[in-house]
């Protein structure tokens, strides 16, 4: 298996809008109008990975996650 750079994901149930992640990783996290983080699912640049790990560890509810790259995507996604 090829090791792809990890991606950021927020567990929306656990996240309580502390906003710490946007302070620690402004490159990849912005906050919406209610203080909840918006992240994209793109692979992290290698030089940001260490930063991202620190932000994830600092999240008070451990809602910010680093997910292994390719292959982690679910095969069924419901829209209804």
């Amino acid at each position: 298996m090829r090791s792809e750079p990890p991606r950021l994901r927020v567990d929306p149930i656990a996240c309580t809008a502390h906003g710490l992640c946007a302070e620690l990783l402004p490159e990849r996290v912005r906050l919406d109008d209610w203080g909840y983080p918006i992240v994209d699912g793109a692979p992290l640049e290698p030089e940001l990975v260490a930063h991202a790990r620190r932000a994830a560890a600092a999240c008070p509810t451990l809602a910010l996650k680093l997910e292994a790259g390719a292959g982690a995507r679910a095969t069924t996604r419901s829209t209804r």
């Binding site: 929306p12 149930i13 996604r77 829209t79």
Partner: protein, 437 residues
């Protein structure tokens, strides 16, 4: 049964409820689910091109194969929750042809090698529950199924039929969605790989197992084969559940129900997670995935709701959006705050409060419709389940289809039709959370 003839699923439907096992077998033949070869069945469902009828249209064979390939014994769940208040097709199917759904559930057990089966049905659908309870007793007496299905009442609520909510409920929790991953097909009921299929999907499996893929494909379109149940409602003389061949024109369906698209205000297709079509668009589409995709629409769970000519599409949409915001399970910030903010802003547009300057919150610009459009883009994909995605899909399609009406309300306040009561059902569920607690 002749391949071209409709109805298929609803053949032998007993409007007084619960066709008996004997009547079911007389009509559909004797084939016992336990005698079907699992590999053949999955291949046949694949060749039939069957897609899920719970709204997401995911290929059924793929799910059957994935769940059946794990190391642990899977669980299968028939989803008859039908949280969509504008839809009645699942309750109708369950009440009138329960054995067809139960055959489909038994076949899903065979196809996946499952060790247990659950049939989830809405607490608010007593006729369906009674018919199923009677049908299950008949089957137990006849020794028809290898695994006896357990009947489970699902508390009413728009999101309680979402798949992770059902898993949560079956695991002893409340019927609210949980964070994924893991997704149910990986780790679901009792930690086992779990197959969740809409009850209509299972009924199609039951017919495919009897008549084969070619029979299934004999009607419908090559891309979207077979028949489908739809719930026709709104400005039609004869509303109700119909079985159509996919690819049927929307205009002919509505005409059959005694309605006229040209004299309607538009059509809401696919329920409250669905898409608005204006009358001109509506007259051009056929009811299949390919045709509808060109209009950014899909059949979803099969709701075809015709908006009366004297109704206001702005007021109707705003009411549905407010209702959907109230049906949020209250767990995820973007869903809770985002949908409420979108409903607030749209209400202010509709009732004239957003006229002129000084309009409420938000950071960039003060055009409330622009703000709603931005929020729609930001909220999608950021809940644990796809409730916010569905809600903003409805909003975005309303803003596109009825752009001039929204602008008019923004500028001039309410129109003459705004006060008309809602054309579509918006029930008081009394809160999914309390009911489940």
């Amino acid at each position: 049964m002749s391949a071209a003839a409709l109805p298929r699923l609803l053949a032998g439907a007993d409007p007084h409820g619960g066709a008996t096992l004997r009547a079911h077998l007389d009509r559909h033949g004797l084939a016992a689910p336990t005698e079907v070869d699992p590999k053949w069945l999955v291949a046949e469902v694949e060749r039939a091109g069957l897609r899920g009828r719970g709204g997401a249209a995911f290929p059924t064979a793929t799910k059957l194969a994935v769940v059946g390939h794990g190391r642990r014994r899977p669980v299968v769940v028939a989803n008859g929750s039908e949280g969509e208040p504008a839809s009645a097709k699942d309750a109708t199917l369950l009440a009138q042809v329960p054995h067809l759904v139960l055959d489909g559930l038994a076949l899903a057990v065979v196809a996946t090698g499952a060790g247990s089966a659950h049939l989830c049905v809405a607490a608010g659908a007593p006729a369906a529950r009674d018919a199923l309870a009677a049908a299950l007793a008949e089957r137990a007496a006849a020794g028809r199924d290898a695994v006896a299905a357990e009947l489970v009442a699902v508390p009413d609520g728009y999101v309680s039929g979402e798949e992770s909510a059902l898993v949560h409920l079956l695991n002893g929790g409340r019927a609210v969605p949980t964070a994924v991953p893991p997704r149910p097909f990986e780790r679901g009921v009792g930690g086992r790989p779990t197959l969740i299929q809409n009850v209509e999907t299972l009924a199609h499996v039951a017919l495919i197992a009897r008549h084969g893929a070619d029979w299934h494909r004999a009607i419908g379109t090559p891309h979207d084969p077979g028949s489908a149940l739809v719930t026709l409602r709104g400005a039609v003389a004869r509303p109700g559940v119909r079985e159509i061949a996919l690819g049927t024109s929307l205009e002919s369906l509505v005409a059959h129900g005694g309605g006229e698209l040209a004299r309607s205000r538009g059509v809401l297709l696919g329920g409250y997670f669905g898409t608005w079509l204006d009358p001109t668009e509506a007259r051009r589409v056929t009811l299949d995935a390919e045709s509808l995709r060109t209009r950014g629409a899909s059949l979803g769970c099969g709701v075809v709701a015709v908006l009366p000519a004297d109704a206001c599409p702005v007021a109707e949409t705003v009411r549905i959006v407010r209702w959907l915001a109230g049906e949020s399970a209250g767990q995820c910030g973007p869903c809770v705050f985002g949908l409420a903010a979108i409903a607030d802003a749209l209400e202010q547009v509709a009732d004239g409060r957003a006229r002129g300057r000084g309009f409420g919150r938000g950071r960039r610009g003060d055009d409330p419709l622009a703000r709603v459009r931005r929020w729609c883009g930001e909220v999608a994909g950021r809940g644990a389940c796809r409730h916010p995605d569905g809600a903003v899909r409805l909003v975005a399609s309303a803003l596109k289809t009825f752009d001039a009406d929204f602008e008019d309300h923004l500028r001039n306040g309410p129109c003459g039709a705004c006060a008309r009561p809602s054309s579509f059902p918006l029930p008081q569920f009394g809160g999914a959370l309390e009911a489940a607690a």
